[in-house]
Symmetry: C2
Subunit: 120 residues, 2 copies
Amino acid sequence: METVIDAIPWNTDGLITAIAQQHDSGEVLMLAWMNREALLETLTTGQVCYWSRSRQTLWRKGESSGHRQRLVESRLDCDGDAVLLRVDQQGSACHTGRPNCFYNAIRKETVEVITAPLSH
Amino acid sequence: METVIDAIPWNTDGLITAIAQQHDSGEVLMLAWMNREALLETLTTGQVCYWSRSRQTLWRKGESSGHRQRLVESRLDCDGDAVLLRVDQQGSACHTGRPNCFYNAIRKETVEVITAPLSH
């Protein structure tokens, strides 16, 4: 596993972009960041851990809220600077209590807040 | 539309992270970046245009390959620094010719190249 992680072209801050997607519905839940330690912990424990850029600390998703993300599968993209985490989300992914973070639909002059899960 | 764009907390490079998702299947296609001009063009024309960080130029997706992305809906996340583009992808999203860019599944010691579309 360390072999894979060593091959990642970490950005200048030592981070990779991470997309969390609900594995069965395909709903895109959130976008966050991981450093080497966070990705290694996620792959090892099967519980998603990010790097909080604002707090500059490991962010074990759901540690306080209980809204954990269990890792189902992880995939690197073609150039290795983004990872797609297919997860099983417990509770709401967004800190606002919404199912996912992408609830602001861009309309012509405004943003419309969408409350329903992303359908497709 | 400019009102919405003006409110985005662009990063220090003037960029926002963009996730492209096939609108009907939910497949996550790719992750890329947009600057103000790229996002405005995307919202105005309905054809997705990114900012190429490597080439430092606007990247009109599919302009040479024909593998365009028609915008169906765009959504900002809770803190406004990521946008989810729900698109209709023509042809393959990835420059490798694969349907999406996330084809490298992380296994214990290796990366396994997945050829099938992301199922869920």
